[in-house]
């Protein structure tokens, strides 16, 4: 399909790291049902390294592909590196996304950050909250014109 790159289609048809981690060390969920996409990232963290990652996504093809690619990009990486992952890097790794689908890569970046934040919170690790997006509100994402 011309709509998406082959990379996107590969990650959509064969998503990596789909699923749930029971007793995950950090869980992040962003997006909402009204907007039509929710991404949930589960992290297993050992010694500040992401030893395992899984995702669940409700959303369009590029949302699923972005989740898949993002999890691949942070798997086995130190948290510090995972936190530098930008939505642009996700989109580039997918050989690009159509302009109106860029927000899917934003969700992926935000879901990871939310999961790390959750890990910090759970473990009483202090961090600079302003460095993390506020992913709870629908207004924040700004990609819906209604609802």
């Amino acid at each position: 399909m011309a709509l998406y790159s082959e990379k996107v289609m590969d990650h959509f048809y064969n998503p990596r790291n789909v699923g749930v981690i029971e007793n995950a060390d950090g869980v992040g969920e962003v997006g909402n049902a009204i907007c039509g996409d929710i991404m949930k990232i589960y992290l297993k963290i050992d010694n500040n390294v992401i030893t395992d990652v899984k995702f669940e996504t409700f959303g369009c093809g590029s949302a699923i592909a972005s989740s898949s690619m993002a999890t691949e990009l942070i798997k086995g990486k130190p948290l510090s590196e995972a936190l530098t992952l930008t939505n642009k890097a996700v989109a580039e790794a997918l050989d690009g996304l159509p302009p109106h689908k860029m927000h899917c890569s934003v969700l992926a970046e935000e879901a990871i950050k939310a999961a790390v934040m959750d890990y910090y919170d759970k473990n009483g690790i202090s961090y600079d909250r302003t460095q993390f997006p506020d992913c709870g509100s629908c207004e924040h994402c700004g990609h819906c014109t209604e609802g």
Partner: protein
Amino acid sequence: MKVYADNAATTKMSRASIDAMLPYMDEEYGNPSSLHSAGQRAAEALQRARETIAKYLGCDAKEITFTSGGSEADNQAILSAAAAGRKKGKKHIISTAFEHHAVLHTLKKLEKQGFEITLLDVHENGVISPEQVASAIRSDTCLVTVMYANNEIGTVQPIAEIGAVCREKGVLFHTDAVQAAVHVLIDVRKQNIDLLSVSAHKFHGPKGAGALYARKGVILTNVIEGGAQERGKRAGTENIPAIMGMAAAFEESCLAMEENNAKMSAMRDRLIDGLSGIPYSILNGDRFYRLPGIVNFCFEGIEGESLLLLLDQKGIYASSGSACTSGSLDPSHVLLAIGRPHEIAHGSLRLSLSVYNTDEEIDHILKAVPAVVEYLRGMSPLWRDLETGKRKHILK
């Protein structure tokens, strides 16, 4: 197996339609405005096509204006009625919330020019009543425009009854019959229709041709200005090949209407029955007042685009709402209009059939859709929340 189940978006051309076009693409290429015989043969062909279209709409050939498609016909119908209304100081138009964008966006344009637009509620079943129209008509209403059948959910409206109401109240009545044509019996006189739009590529005719019926006495204003084609009401060299293809397709499908509808609705009903078995799903639009070819479901917990892409992988060409708005992030205005919440509207699937579909194809769809829905639900955090009771199901 490839299954084309997106016939509400566009259809395969019939052999008869292609064959009707070819001679006019090849040897008979004259311009009907030319005086010489090559031109006059084209003019005669144009006239034959006009008579054919008129015959199956129940009107005079002179009441048919050829356009480039359904959108142009809708634009012209509405702008013409509005221009006539403006002259009389009547600037109120009644329509419905689930019209095609060709209608809604034209109404929005008129709104900016000072028209007042009333969009009737279409209810959960996607059917409006003549009483709603009657009670919305005011002394300054210049037009009622209600689609004959909806392109996303396939519901058919009580057009003859609405026509009667409008005629009685002396208000012009337009209907967008782009989806209904060749599937319902249209008789513009009996049904008191003043303006009606059709589009060839929706009934196995070519893209690039549409027709606007305008009752004698209803004055059209030009959308396209220029030469004196179409009695001065639509400029531009006539697209003779496409018009010939349209007339052939229209005639062929109108003659076979009963047979085609029977075949299609049997397939449609198998789809409805089969897909209803998927838990937490719902059929959109009235089960009975519906076109023979359109089935539209919402499945809770999943999103439509990913559903489409996976069906595509299985060779099934389907749609989620209308083709024109796919790619947009907003859920279908039609599904919102029948009251589906956003999160449900996002999970929609439209399967639209034609007479070329087969029972084997329906079997294939009925195997594929439940599997794909299950797969997507399996990776959906929304579905997990529904299943674990963290969220309440909206559908049953």
